[in-house]
């Protein structure tokens, strides 16, 4: 089964539990601007949800955009950035069609994105309306 998220933006209530859970999982604290998922409010229109689509992303342009081959797709479908190889050139940030790769500013200059929490994304467990549903993975 392809790996990724079933996203229904119509069901998103903009509660941001997904961002809170993401930052808590990745950083040990709630810090929404550093989450690997973003929900952009566009009232009265439905929000925009920015997160890596994994196998649903046609061509996965971030991988090819990286001049140092720091981004790769593994056998399970996880698209991951190798921090040790990343030079912080921002090519992937520009290439991502979903606006779902960000730059870490403090203590280095690396790109970061959703890593699907290795198979069971913390964000999905917090989504009570089913706007964000896991496909594939553990």
């Amino acid at each position: 089964m392809p790996l990724g998220f079933d996203i229904d933006r119509n069901l998103c209530t903009e509660c941001l539990r997904c961002l809170a859970a993401c930052s808590l999982t990745k950083l040990g604290r709630v810090q929404l601007p550093l989450a690997r998922i973003a929900v952009k409010r566009r009232w009265p229109e439905i929000p925009e949800i920015r997160v890596c689509r994994f196998d649903d992303c046609p061509g996965q342009p971030c991988i090819d955009s990286c001049p140092v081959e720091a981004i790769s797709r593994d056998a399970r479908g996880l698209v991951l950035i190798d921090r040790d190889t990343c030079t912080g050139c921002r090519s992937c940030v520009e290439a991502c069609p979903y606006g779902a790769i960000w730059m870490e500013e403090n203590g280095g200059n690396y790109a970061y994105k959703c890593d699907f929490c290795g198979g069971a994304p913390a964000c999905v467990q917090e989504c009570v309306t089913g706007a964000l549903v896991q496909k594939g993975g553990a």
Binding site: N10, C15, L16, V30, Q31, P44, E126, V128
Partner: protein, 610 residues
């Protein structure tokens, strides 16, 4: 072991000198936990009870609590404490949305606004830095326009609060809006306006930790399971809120003959099914909008087409507004109700007190006591309802009278104050003391006037207890007041407690802050705050005579559903006596020295001295 969710830091903003200083939370304040506890203690310590609410000496304190910004569900709110220009009492009011979390992300437990700005000002709070900006471009603008402007100049990621024209013009029931959520009651908008602050934008970059992460996560998981189960239940009130919003309960209230209608003359409204939560969900495009971190998402965004063909959006109306701008005005038109709500939002006014003023003006109009050129003052008349609301916001004609609040409006116009549904000058929330005696006592004894937040509404309206009985209500009201005050130190959403057992709160506090506290101690914090508020109000000149219901409550309700239901004066006074006794107060409602010593606040007896 992580770090406490509380940052032990507020920012004191001296508006007159355009200076902001970080203020470390003193040790003795920490026992008040946060939120309403912090706000109340700071206000009673720093603002004398006789202070003119609209003078530079009044302060406005905006706080959050130990669970704000964490993963704990239903904790989005922030709390404002100030002296109210409407009631002359200490005031606490609350708004949900995202502002509370953003204050916490800024690394703060709150802001203290002092003095008066030399010119109309916008405040930008970025972490603990505060900058002062001109508000000239948005003077006279609506709350929505003002907040859009803040996002334009400060960036799309700020969270905001603002006042509209009503706050600028010191309308006594002006509210402070925060992205369609409202610090509704008691005229906090007029206080902010008196300080010449049009709006505040907050952006935080900091993270939020908790003292005991594993314990905290387990509590969050448990609480989320409870809430999800409640949301899945067909007849759970919180579940109904999550499906159609707070207007879900109107049918139940109407069926019990307790839906205040036509300025509280009647207890049921035959138009209720046209304006309740189900009607809005059924007839209009609806999208659920949550506050920060909330799985219940009771906010409903609706799209309307007005009579003139134009379309508009509104998040709401909420249940209380369906009463105050609906049934109480005999207004069964959902689009007119939405427009009335929008006018309150545009001007920045409390839908409850504004609606109550309109209801009274319509009744006085029909009795020939009041008139206004160009408006036919008649219940159910859309032009009168919308026109009066605009006139209050503009302080025009009769609206200028009503903008001063019930007592002054009645006095200046010669209208009947006994039919003005107010207590301590604050308009009634959506409940009828004649049908719900405990709720009546809660309204009468509330420290902020006719307030529904600390009343046995659920137990009475669902029939869990006899709604018409007086017996046992004094003890129940006292217990709810203390418990809800304690919960408001966390600034939990009022609906959180509908599902969450009381013992969970001290556990949450301990896991978030590392401060162990028993349920008994937690509830004692609530009681301590209640007594501080009472002392402040006594010092401000209030007493037993202000703990009474308006005259209409002693006259029978009309109409079939609850024909004849009434408050008996002697029974009510006995209930009040019992309530004072249970509180450890004297027969005039003054806290005794013994009670204050028991609560560990004997030094505050001075507050009550006039």
């Amino acid at each position: 072991m992580g770090r406490s969710s509380m940052k032990d830091l507020l920012v004191r903003i001296d508006l007159g000198n355009r200076r902001a200083e970080p203020w470390a939370v003193p040790e003795q304040l920490k026992g008040y936990l946060g939120g309403m506890g912090y706000g109340t203690k700071i206000l009673v310590d720093e603002v004398p009870p006789q202070t003119d609410p609209l003078s530079p000496e009044n302060k406005l304190i905006l706080t959050v609590g130990p669970l704000t910004g964490t993963m704990a569900p239903m904790q989005p709110q922030s709390c404002i404490v100030t002296k109210s220009p409407l009631t002359g009492t200490i005031l606490n009011c609350y708004a949900g949305g995202f502002l509370g979390a953003e204050i916490r992300f800024a690394g703060l437990d709150g802001l203290i606004l002092e003095g008066v700005a030399p010119e109309w000002t916008l405040l930008l709070v970025e972490d603990d830095r505060v900058s002062f900006h001109s508000a000239e471009a948005v003077l006279g603008k609506s709350t929505a326009e003002t907040e859009a402007y803040l996002r334009e100049i400060f960036g799309p990621d700020v969270h905001t609060l603002s006042i509209g024209r009503a706050g600028e013009k010191a309308v006594a029931m002006a509210s402070i809006f925060s992205e369609t959520r409202t610090f509704g009651r008691g005229g906090a908008g007029a206080v902010l306006g008196s300080k010449r602050v049009k709006a505040i934008a907050v952006r935080g970059s900091r993270g939020v930790e908790v003292a005991r992460p594993d314990e905290f996560s387990a509590l969050v998981r448990g609480n989320m399971e409870l809430l999800k189960a409640a949301c899945a239940e067909e007849y759970n009130l919180v579940g109904m809120f999550s499906r159609v919003g707070t207007g879900a309960g109107m049918g139940l209230v109407n069926g019990r003959g307790a839906l205040a209608t036509r300025n509280h003359a009647f207890g049921s409204f035959d138009g209720s099914t046209r304006i309740d939560g189900y009607a809005y969900a059924d007839k209009f495009y609806t999208r659920a909008i949550a506050c920060y971190g909330c799985p219940v998402h009771c906010g409903m965004l609706h799209k309307f087409t007005r009579a003139d063909g134009s379309s508009s959006w509104l998040r709401g109306p909420e249940y209380e507004t369906m009463y105050s701008l609906g049934s109480d005005l005999l207004n069964g038109d959902p689009v007119v109700l939405a427009e009335a709500n929008q006018i309150c939002e545009e001007y920045g006014m409390d839908t409850l007190s504004s609606g109550v003023c309109v209801a009274w003006a319509l009744e006085m109009g029909e009795s020939g006591v009041l008139e206004e050129p160009g408006l036919e003052l008649k219940f159910g008349e859309p032009a009168a309802i919308l026109g009066l609301l605009r006139k209050i916001g503009e302080r025009e004609g009769i609206g200028d009278l009503l903008a001063r609040g019930p007592k002054q409006a009645a006095k200046a116009s010669g209208g009947d104050l006994g039919r003005f549904m107010q207590i301590k000058n604050s308009g009634f929330a959506a409940w009828m003391p004649r049908r719900m005696k405990g709720t009546g006592l809660a309204f009468a004894t509330s420290n902020r006037g006719a307030c529904h937040k600390r009343a046995p509404i659920g137990a009475e309206i669902t029939g869990q207890i006899d709604m018409d009985a007086y017996e046992g209500k004094a003890a129940l009201v006292r217990e709810i007041q203390d418990r809800v005050n304690a919960i408001f130190t966390l600034v939990s959403c009022r609906f959180h407690e509908f599902v969450t057992p009381p013992e969970v709160y001290p556990r949450f506090v301990a896991a978030a802050t590392g401060r162990d506290i028993s349920l008994k101690e937690f509830l004692a914090v609530g009681e301590r705050i209640w007594n501080l508020e009472r002392l402040f109000n006594i010092g401000a000149g209030l007493g037993r005579a202000d703990d009474r219901l308006p005259e209409r409550c002693y006259q029978p309700i009309k109409g079939e559903a609850s024909e004849g239901a009434v408050v008996d004066r002697d029974e009510f006074e006995r209930m009040l006596d019992e309530y004072y006794h249970l509180r450890g107060w004297d027969e005039q409602g003054n806290p005794t020295q013994g009670k204050l010593e028991q609560l560990g606040i004997p030094e505050y007896a001075r507050l009550g001295l006039r």
